[in-house]
């Protein structure tokens, strides 16, 4: 199916945010990272595993009536660093945003090491993962120093 066809699997939105080029199968993780759950009132459309020339397969998310902030989008760098994001106003692309991988990923996911001090949910300091390598992505916990398993991190998202 053509790229245009992909976009038409769901209807165009009037206002909101479109996140395209999410790695195939990661859309649910993206929703989780953005705190988008079934209890919100905005319509959310999601397509998964659609063909993509650039990526082979990809996922797309459209969130209506909500403009995601740069801070929210930067969280996605763990699972979808190359996703493209468009803010839609009155059916047209009003803004294009990029996902930035910051030097430190704060309060997005917990350290995956079972003996890390941060495993105690009552400890109040932020969960801080330091980016030690960008390509491929490698992170270490600021506190225990353990390298993080990225798939494991997705399971330990807040």
């Amino acid at each position: 199916m053509s790229q245009e066809g992909n976009m038409r699997r769901v209807t165009a939105i009037k206002n909101g945010t479109v996140i395209d080029h999410i790695p195939a199968g990661k859309a649910l993780s993206v929703l989780k990272m953005l705190g988008i759950a079934g209890d919100m009132s905005n319509p959310v459309s999601l397509v998964m595993n659609v063909p993509s020339k650039k990526m082979g397969g990809k996922d797309i998310i459209k969130v209506e009536d909500r403009e995601l902030t740069q801070g929210e989008l930067d969280k996605l760098s763990l699972v979808a660093p190359d996703a493209s994001v468009a803010i839609i106003r009155a059916y047209t692309v009003a803004e294009k945003l990029e996902i930035n991988l910051t030097e430190e990923v704060v309060n997005v996911a917990r350290c995956t090491f079972s003996n890390c001090i941060t495993i105690n949910p009552r400890e109040p300091l932020p969960h801080r993962l330091i980016v030690t390598k960008r390509e491929p992505l490698e992170l270490r916990c600021r506190y225990c120093g353990k390298p993080q398993d990225i798939d494991g991190l997705i399971d330990s998202l807040f």
């Binding site: 105690n120 009552r122 506190y143 120093g145």
Partner: protein
């Protein structure tokens, strides 16, 4: 507040200069000279898991320098059992003390405490993580024995996987130009991330399961205890542990000035017959914990160690 959490918190120059300070403080550590550089300062000893040498040597170091110490005491009778977080505990002790020495079973606890505190934190061991004050006393011991660090062949042997002592030490040794060999059973090898860090920093690291093959070329053999509970059954433990036990007769091929170190406590890995050889250095190493920690506390509290300690000090 800066503390000493891993050896990365110190530059190579700082390490050498702290070792120099420690050298000058030796007569104070031995009790031959009174030099109250830390008079009026209080050390908080927060040991959330058992410690003999580290806790006692911190306490001795502070008292030799004229300061005082408050202890957490038995964890079982502290507010930890009531569910107090480490963060809250640190807020409290921060207000009582000028510097904190801490050991905790969870990895990362020392960095966490450091991020929570205003006073400096000295990491006395966090889970299987780091133990940098031990590293400083180990470096001090090696340098005193050999007069240098660069170019020495250092063999770290035994449990390299869970032994936090060797984690911190291996980083420091390679930074300071030592050649490092890791001798351990397959199941207790140095963690991959540490080996890869060392290699990324340009160090040449040799890994082997043959300890005895290293004795003739080693300048230092650093033994660690292999813990029974790391093995699925007693037979497997006995087989592995047997390959990492040094007797005096094994040392016939050693260089005359080769030293054997051990963070202690030892169980069977160094036979008592080694104690009376010229190579045994582990008790001196344990004593050096006092002087190394004296120098570290002075540095972290911004107190300069006088160039002429004899002149600055008084008779006890």
């Amino acid at each position: 507040m800066p503390g000493l959490i891993t050896m990365d918190d110190l530059t190579d120059e700082e390490i050498i200069s702290i070792l120099d300070d420690a050298e000058r403080l030796l007569p104070v550590a031995r009790g031959e000279l009174y030099l109250p550089l830390l008079k009026g300062r209080i050390l908080g000893n927060l040991f959330f898991e058992p410690s003999t040498r580290t806790r006692m040597s911190f306490e001795t170091a502070m008292k030799r320098l004229g300061g005082d110490v408050v202890n957490l005491g038995d964890v079982k009778s502290s507010s930890v059992v009531k569910g107090e977080t480490l963060f809250d505990m640190i807020q409290m002790v921060d207000g009582y003390t000028d510097i904190i020495a801490m050991r905790h079973p969870r990895q990362g606890a020392a960095q966490y405490a450091c991020d929570s505190a205003k006073v400096p934190i000295l990491n006395g061991g966090d889970g299987a993580g780091h133990h940098p004050t031990q590293t400083m006393l180990d470096l001090f011991t090696i340098r005193r024995a050999h007069g240098k660090l660069e170019g020495l062949n250092v063999v770290l042997a035994g449990d390299l996987r869970y032994g936090r002592t060797v984690h911190s030490l291996s980083h420091a040794l390679t930074r300071l130009g030592c050649n490092v060999t890791f001798a351990s059973p397959e199941s207790l090898r140095m963690p991959e991330e540490i080996v890869s860090d060392l290699k990324d920093n340009g160090a040449e690291v040799v890994e082997t399961d043959d300890l005895f093959g290293q004795i003739n070329t080693a300048d230092v053999i650093y033994m660690t205890r292999i813990q029974k509970e790391r093995f699925p059954d007693e037979d497997e433990y006995a087989k592995v542990a047997g390959a990492y036990k040094l007797h005096a007769k094994d040392l016939d091929v050693a260089k005359p000035d080769m030293i054997i170190m051990h963070p202690l406590p030892r169980v069977d890995e160094i036979h008592p017959s080694v104690d009376s050889t010229r190579h045994a250095c582990y008790f001196e190493q344990a004593f050096n914990g006092v002087v190394a920690r004296m120098a570290l506390m002075c540095r972290l509290l911004g107190v300069e160690v006088p160039a002429d300690v004899e002149k600055a000090g008084g008779i006890i």
